[in-house]
Amino acid sequence: MALLQISEPGQSPLPHARRLAAGIDLGTTNSLIATVRDGQAQVLVDADGCALLPSVVRFHADGGVSVGQAAVAAEVEDPLNTIASVKRLMGRGRTEAAASPYRLMPEGEGAVRLETVAGGKTPVEVSAHVLQSLKVRAEQTLGGELAGVVITVPAYFDEPQRQATKDAARVAGLSVLRLLSEPTAAAVAYGLDRNPEGLYCVYDLGGGTFDVSLLRLSQGVFEVLATGGDGMLGGDDMDVALALLWEEQGAKVNSPSQARQLLRSARCARERLTMDTETPVEVPDIFSGCLTRAALDQVIDPLIERTLIPCRRVLKDAGVRVADINEVVLVGGATRTPRVREKVGAFFRREPLHDIDPDQVVAIGAARQADLLVGNVGATDMLLLDVIPLSLGLEIMGGLVEKIIPRNSPIPASRAQEFTTYKDGQTALAIHVVQGERDLVSDCRSLAQFSLRGIPPMVAGAARIRVTFQVDADGLLSVTARELTRGVESEITVKPSFGLSDTDIEGMLRDSIAHASGDARARVLREQQVEADRMIEAVEAAMAHDGALLIDGEREGMMACIATLKDLQKGSDPGVIRDGVAALDRASASFAARRMDMSLAKSIKGHSVAEFQ
């Protein structure tokens, strides 16, 4: 059982065949998938030899879907059904998405739905199509099913954005080993190939988001010291700024398709100015002119300045001076812009590194981590410690926020908080969790409303309800509650403010993508069977190894659950198997916790415990 037989990576106690794993950079503009083959991380290309998959999805009236270049080709002729830069809408509410160029479905709260000829589509579904397309590419290239993937997210992504990303993977039928922050992935790519020790700053300016992270690399542990950024700032904004400049200079835009055309020309001109100092701009019927690098620099300078504020903040948060930094790493296509390199170099007083392709570096780092997490032999031993980018807080009286987990806390993190009732006989309590740095609830992002029910009726102030907030290694929040005076587990209902419920996701699995990729139900069944196998194997190994820790009747209880589960596993109902796993989980939970305590004592004392025994 993994909990006790802690083996060094590469020395797995159960030898198995090499598993297929991949790293995915799910980008605003382009997405990539990479894998480790023969010890080398490499990006996988499509049939045309392209590594970059444009993150663009077109929905057709007949229910068909095109992804990537085929969709890009239709952007101008079919702008409302061709969804680009959907990453900016992930985990967002309607008001935040109001500026999007697409038609939003009017009804309902929560997650945004985009109106297309094929019906309302959530950003999660759109992203799932991109992921699905990369999954197919990888499985065809590698000749087998992916055992697991690491998907990168901007370090600055808040909880709903991370949750939406994980939901998209689920809809696409991918098993997520970990959500990894993009700068950490980039540092993995550079750190392994270069100096293993030191303090790194990763400056990541992508299509739609900006991140800056400070990492300390030492003895195989990559530790994020601080992270900051702007989730709404990227190369796309440079295009918008250029388009505005041209409109001032007389460009006439009369339709969404012309607006899209102007933005595309802006991007192309910007890309050409990476090498050239001057470029002609011809947008048929809309604009004709010339753009110099100096003019471009003037337009984008305010945007680059905005990226330097988070840079100053992370230095402060980490208590680090510019002179302490060993290397600055550039990530993201927009860092190809000479002016960005120049200004970042001036700020950090050193020439930034950019020798790994800034478009590929994140996917390559993610691929290495995925290879390690699926347990492949030969993967480099390292541990990536991420932090929570924005503080988690609770709404208190007067619409104010009380912070419970401050930003830049290493994750996993948890915090327990006690609440009481304010009325006699009160049996329910509402808790509002928000994320952000501001003092007012209205200035932060609402994550979820929790209702606690089933509190035993008592006089006001007598109940003591302990609520535990936990953030896992992916940055996702979970909440549990217990009434302390009587030990009653309170029931929690979560109403995510922007996310999707499990039912929503299961609906999507049924309706859309899963159908295209085989039988959804068969897949869910197989997942449950695998989980049942893992659980049975783990519990049996634990009993064999630590029989001495068992208390009266515990072994019998677990054996009975195992026997039942083995029977259920032969059936075809995933729900019943899930219940069987849950029953075995309950029967073994306290035994597992005791083993963990003992194992902790052993690991901390080194060999001393073994010597006494």
Binding site: L3, L372, L383, D472, S588, L600, I604
Partner: protein, 172 residues
């Protein structure tokens, strides 16, 4: 997981810990217990690993910072530093605080003024930390009541230092 944080890291239950030792122990343990180590494990194993690493990370945070460590150490000795239990503060200290706040407000964002102020606050916090260490490492519990007052003052300083940080790096 009923252990206190000192025991969790196998450190003696005393205020003046070796912070390098703490960091080393945390690194050793988190390497073993991080959920990434159980990516192929059962849900139960992964859940326990998340709980354990959260506990390790929380323990590191509490023990690393002198103010948090002092509060935690005092609470283990039955001395609460919660603000609700006592609102009295030293008048001279409060006046100094008010003067500082006025200087911050009057600075109009002048970075030189804010930096000078930050240096003063830092120096005072360092002096208070020294006294705190003396009080909490002395024999017996005589120093606890004075330490409690000092901890509360240091919390004020920390909050103000944070505001100064924000003023230096631009608004959020």
């Amino acid at each position: 997981m009923v252990k206190n944080y000192f025991e969790l890291f196998d450190l003696p239950v005393r205020f003046d810990i070796d912070r390098d030792e703490l960091a080393r122990k945390h690194r050793e343990l988190i390497r073993l217990w991080h959920p990434d180590r159980f990516a192929q494990g059962s849900d139960q194993e992964r859940r326990l690993a998340v709980e354990m690493s959260a506990n390790l990370n929380d323990g590191l945070k509490v023990l690393r910072e002198p103010v948090d460590r002092a509060r935690y150490f005092l609470s283990l000795n039955g001395v609460s530093t919660d603000e609700e239990t006592d609102t009295s503060m030293d008048v001279a200290f409060l006046l100094e605080q008010m003067a500082w706040r006025e200087r911050l407000e009057d600075s109009g964002g002048d970075q030189a003024v804010i930096e000078a102020l930050a240096a003063e606050v830092e120096a005072l916090a360092a002096r208070k930390e020294e006294s705190l260490t003396r009080m909490l490492t002395a024999e017996g519990t005589d120093g606890f009541s004075a330490a409690r007052k000092l901890v509360r003052e240091m919390q004020f300083l920390r909050r103000f230092a944070h505001e100064l940080d924000e003023a230096q790096t631009g608004v959020l």
